[in-house]
């Protein structure tokens, strides 16, 4: 890993923790096309991302019929159906981006459409790797301050009444690398620790009535079956409100890196408390004060030297995914600005767009469905006049909470570990069309 890079991030903390580590600046060939990851080679081969300007050039160089990949698909029989899992087109190249330590892999937000993150691109964050779990051997034990301690297999859980919900999960450390630096080039590198899936499982309220919660039980210790045996204390109110144990993600079994065969889902709350590989729930009368809620995932406010604890909710944030860092607009003209907004507190009320560096703001349209505690897709039609400018988005949720500026956060929180960082992201469009991350403090 790039040492200088890391030391810049972790002011005062000598060792990298995955969710605060910035990935390396990727060597991206994307300047040839409007979108990242569209290499010159792909464009020349007639891959999907041919821009108007590029296409003009390319068409002058060759005829469609001469291109084996593109021309003539209608002239030969196609591939027959197979009994297999299925893969995407060979021309599609978006992938997760892993950090050097292998503790995280970030979602390519700038390459995605709509609100659902494909399961294979859902971000990863783990504290001692992805465990290999045989679902036939896996058990969830619920014990402690309960009347009837119980043990459930995956098949047991699947027999209970089920619930499905589309929920974003965002790592508490997401975007932290953008607080005081603009070195992370892409939306993926800077903000890719958030994803949205449809999760299916059993309500915790159902399971709690099965085991019988004793009077005075106020907290639930959730523990994973990974090498870190990651554990967090969850207040019983959240457990009874909208929490569930999920065994499915986007219609199929949860991916191993996201908790197979079962995980906790606490809609709207920081990623790590949605404990993956869930094996134990223990009810008690006090928080357990695990490492992940004391040393980690507490918000040190360096102005006072005191730390905010149990700050579970991920507050409103938004991000323009197009145009975004390391892309290049081929020329002035129409572009649809689009991106994602989300809030762990309440549904998104509005997203505003500025195309002049924050001086003026206009409403973006929100794509239905606007789901609570899920990514929401916004769009804004824009005519770029070809001059240098800065574009930004700002989300407001239905509690009235407005996404803050970075200057506000620094003034109120100092320069701590930057968990829960949701300052407004600025992308600069240069006169040559190149888009870059800039810091407006």
């Amino acid at each position: 890993m790039d040492r200088t890079h890391r030391s810049e991030i972790l002011i005062g903390e000598p060792v990298a923790e995955g969710d605060l580590v910035r990935p390396p600046e990727e060597d991206c060939a994307c300047k040839e096309g409007m979108f990242p990851k569209a290499s010159r080679r792909q464009i020349l081969r007639g891959g999907g991302l041919v821009t108007a300007a590029a296409a003009t050039v390319l068409l002058a160089k060759r005829t469609l019929a001469a291109d084996e990949d593109m021309a003539g698909s209608w002239t030969v029989p196609g591939q027959l159906a197979k009994s297999d899992y299925g893969t995407r087109s060979k021309f599609e190249t978006a992938v997760r981006q892993a950090t050097p330590a292998g503790t995280d892999a970030l979602t390519p937000l700038q390459s995605l459409w709509g609100i659902i993150t494909p399961s294979g691109l859902h971000f990863e964050r783990h504290h001692n790797g992805v465990p290999a779990i045989d679902p036939a051997q896996h058990r969830l034990i619920i014990h402690g301050m309960v009347d009837r301690p119980m043990k459930y297999s995956v098949e047991d859980l699947k027999r209970f009444p089920s619930v499905s919900r589309i929920v974003f999960i965002e790592c508490s450390g997401n975007s932290g690398g953008t607080a005081r630096s603009a070195t992370l080039k892409t939306a993926q590198a800077a903000h890719g620790l958030t994803s949205t899936s449809e999760w299916t499982g059993v309500r915790l309220s159902t399971l709690m009535s099965e085991v019988g919660v004793k009077d005075g039980a106020g907290w639930v210790l959730a523990e994973g079956a990974d090498g870190a045996m990651l554990s967090r204390s969850v207040p019983i109110d959240k457990i009874m409100d909208d929490a569930f144990v999920a065994y499915a993600q986007n219609g199929e079994a949860i991916r191993p890196e996201n908790g197979y065969p079962m995980r906790l889902i606490l809609p709207g709350w920081e990623g790590n408390i949605n404990v993956k590989w869930l094996r134990r729930l223990k009810l008690g009368d006090k928080p357990f004060m695990t490492r992940e809620e004391t040393e980690k995932y507490t918000d040190l406010i360096t102005l006072t030297g005191k730390a905010r604890q149990f700050s579970w909710v991920m507050e409103a944030k938004s991000l323009i995914t197009f145009p975004s860092g390391d892309m290049r607009l081929p020329g002035k003209g129409f572009y649809e600005i689009t991106g994602l907004a989300w809030s762990g507190r309440a549904p998104i009320e509005r997203v505003e767009i500025s195309t002049d560096g924050g001086k003026n703001w206009a409403l973006a349209s929100l794509q239905e469905p606007v789901l609570p505690k899920a990514h929401v897709r916004f769009r804004y039609p824009w005519h770029w006049d070809g001059s240098e400018t800065i574009i930004e988005s700002r989300a407001t949720d239905q509690t009235g909470y407005v996404q803050p500026t970075k200057a506000f956060l620094t003034a109120n929180e100092g320069v701590g570990p930057t968990y829960h960082y949701n300052g407004i992201q600025s992308w600069k469009i240069s006169a040559d069309g190149s888009v870059s991350n800039v810091l407006i403090a």
């Binding site: 005062g12 050097p100 009837r148 009444p161 090498g227 004060m289 695990t290 102005l303 730390a307 200057a407």
Partner: protein
Amino acid sequence: MFSSHRGILLATALMLGASPLAVSGQESGYAGTYPFGTAATQADIDAWNKDVRPDGQGLPPGSGTFEKGQKIYAEQCATCHGENLEGIRDPNLPQGGGPALIGGRGTLNTSKFKITVESYWPYASTLYDYILRAMPYTAPSSLKPDEVYSLVGFILGRANIIDKKATMDAKSLPKVEMPNRNGFYPDNRPYPVKRYD
């Protein structure tokens, strides 16, 4: 200290209306319990019930000393955390190396804040709990209670939080007063002010 969470959550629930997880069929339909799963036996529970709380609940029998901890640390911990508990950064080590465990007192209200067991961790119990479940990184859950007690004694001794002659056990460990015990407060967001200019 944390009793206010119930109020906050209730208020939030009222503000947002019914939970999206409420399904009418569930509410109006089957009211009984379900015959799924099996009773967890005491042996099932004992095998996994190893967490430790600040008040000492969960601490097992056994004990440890600074001297024994020093030896275990040198063998099992120093490679990642450094011979002097100073932390190591090395891309060839798991997670890029282990954090510093001591030092950093007085830095938390500065831009050079240094988060360590000594400067930041509010409870000694967390150290026991975390080492037992997650350390060493390459062989988690491999240490015995006496070894964990000893490592706690060694680290806290090196941090000048306890006497190097102290014995760590279920009685003494919960009594350790960590320097940053009062360094935390419950979530106070959102800010009661307009959050942008």
